[in-house]
Symmetry: C2
Subunit: 465 residues, 2 copies
Amino acid sequence: MSLHKPQTQLLYPELEQALEAGDLEALEALCDHLAVEDLAELVDELEASLRVVFFSKIPLQTATDIFQQLSLPTQSEVLDSLPAAREAEIINEMDPDDRTALLETLPINDTKQLLSFLKPRERAQAQKLLDFPEDSVGRLMTPDFLAIRQEWTVARAMQFIRENGEDKETLNDIYVVDEKGRLLDDIRIREFLLSAPECPVEDIMDGQYTALPAMNPQEEAIQAFKKYNTLTALPVVDEDGLLLGIVTIDDILLLEEKETTEDIQKLGGVEALDTSYLEAPYWNMLRKRVGWLTGLFIGEMFTATAMSFYQGEISKAVVLALFIPLILSSGGNSGSQATTLMIRAIALGEVTFADIWRVFRREILMGVGLGIILAVIGCLRIFVWGAAFHTYGPHYMILGMAVGVAIVGVVAWGTIVGAMLPIVLRRLGLDPATSSAPFVATFIDVTGIVIYFNIAMFVMGGRLF
Amino acid sequence: MSLHKPQTQLLYPELEQALEAGDLEALEALCDHLAVEDLAELVDELEASLRVVFFSKIPLQTATDIFQQLSLPTQSEVLDSLPAAREAEIINEMDPDDRTALLETLPINDTKQLLSFLKPRERAQAQKLLDFPEDSVGRLMTPDFLAIRQEWTVARAMQFIRENGEDKETLNDIYVVDEKGRLLDDIRIREFLLSAPECPVEDIMDGQYTALPAMNPQEEAIQAFKKYNTLTALPVVDEDGLLLGIVTIDDILLLEEKETTEDIQKLGGVEALDTSYLEAPYWNMLRKRVGWLTGLFIGEMFTATAMSFYQGEISKAVVLALFIPLILSSGGNSGSQATTLMIRAIALGEVTFADIWRVFRREILMGVGLGIILAVIGCLRIFVWGAAFHTYGPHYMILGMAVGVAIVGVVAWGTIVGAMLPIVLRRLGLDPATSSAPFVATFIDVTGIVIYFNIAMFVMGGRLF
């Protein structure tokens, strides 16, 4: 079966029919025929009532596998509609890391209720994972890993893997621990496959491993997987080096996607939605959008204040007002560019505070360069229109010069502010993405008005006034 | 060794000293002590001359492993400075997928020269991979995989893996092919480990696999790994189902990072840099930034044109001009929000063209809602200032009403344009990210002026003029 979504979609009517008719045989045939990921896609589209039938009728293991593939909001929707007995069965069967992901998104009372459904061993485990701080590596890990001892032979290790590997999330990496359970090494399964059975495990250890401290932020896990990119799982340890669990790369891929979405939304001046666009309720979405928008609006009000100081100049030379949006937006756009580049460069670790002067020099030159190019275009436009259509009165040459100089000034200012702000915010321990493009643009609007009118007054002197 | 970067950094002077003194023993001790990823980080910081010494002196396999961890620009820098013989050794030793990644970034003449350094078998392989279109799955794959036959037993398969697995990139997944080499199934290594040796391979096959067609875009590979998230490698096939190679998840993580960077840069109105911020040469960066900026500037010039139609109104009521930046930026900001949300939702597959009316209804309501909130704040400000400081003349109540209505109109307009544009662009087969926040803001600036002055003229009638 290859990557052809339509093929899977074609089976939707069949699934719906089997559920409506209560045809268990057809249902099981469908489940055998499709991968759980594809089944999950179909189930996602079912009406709530049919979904309940689906999750009640199919075998528990398959039900749980499919359940874990659903989005978190859908998972909690499904749980709400299932009979309590089935609900309990499914959450007892879930992988510990997927269970944590679900439990941490639920309201506190739902979490408590679900915990009470768990068998003692599972409950203790789930509770322990939830005890790690939010956004910590501990919340990502699964305690289902295989640990062996260095004094064993490869044959004994393989035997152990065969006997205990069934319910482990991955067998790609095997961990070596000492008698206290402290991590000594990680060994990829290929080493076992390629070594002689009588070889001691000690001989295939290289003592080189990377472990994630459980209390550290999840961001570190992403960075570690990108750096040590031949690994598909990383061990998690406590402060004594005790092996607590593993983080697998599939969770990292999804976590990375989630964090990217948050970053992009912040860049656009929206609070992170935490849910998909169409699933976000109207009022919730309004709240997340109105916050930044109101803040920016209040900031932008200072443009009216700033302009009121130059009301006299405007009334004497209305032509000056015509170029306000052009000049401000040039500064805003160059600032957006600079801040976006910088936020991403900081997120990728390419730029740190140590580079601030290098960035400063570079962006000053960049801002002046960009400003001159735009200023030339702007001047030409004013000269041509002024000469051809007399649009801008008799002093259009001087006006063109004033606008040109103002563009260089505002663009250079926008560039440098946009570039510096994220670095400074990061240094202060704040999120650089707060310096979103709209934020920078608003700041440039207010200050740009002052720059423009002062330059215009200086260049034009008494000529228009 | 746990995730403590400082520890690795502490070894930098040691490495430098060993290279300067030509102390081979110290060098090898360092190489044994550190993971290749950490060594690569140190090597990255070395001066060019010491880097040459490093890559010439250490064993070829280690040198190649470290070389492959370097960024592509650094890789080509290193190759340029190495003696031709060593250069040839290293590129012959590289993994096929890493080699393709390097070759495709080099100027055509360098690529040809490097190809001529390759041994016949490697050259044929590299050429074949480069023959796939840019950004296709084929360019990502490595032909180093293990394929077995369904009539074998598990024991024979394991024997085969042991004998042929040494130079394969991953042994986590094993592929079953027919006598023509067509893919029949993928089997995770755990199935072999957990099955009885005498069991036929056929019995552990489930016939469920996902294969990527080699000519399809790389974006599909990313989506497939996110969906089938328990896999660490995916098979690549040609149109006849012939197994050509595999794509491994480590390449996906890096590809995803690269694509996210491009998307974010486009959102900020910059052409994708294709290199890290500090490594991009000044002129190159200027070129990538000036393009969009000039386009936006020329578009924004229409604001001056639009405003010139209302010059008469402005000269009669300068107070109208004071609110231009405030009103335009509100529309621009709400448009930025909407477009950013929509571009991301489209990228994640949450919103498609089929949802356009749903999005339209939702964003109209959102835009009006957001507009009313901002309008109330704006009116209050004008009423209070007008009453307290007489800033806006005798008709400040009417002015406040006009500005308020204009804010609702421009914000609703900005929101709907920002939301619809990416969906329409996608439908036309264009990149939705082209509808960047600055682009939407510019469009709103020009149209917003017309909306504002018409509303103001209508609401205020002759009262100010």
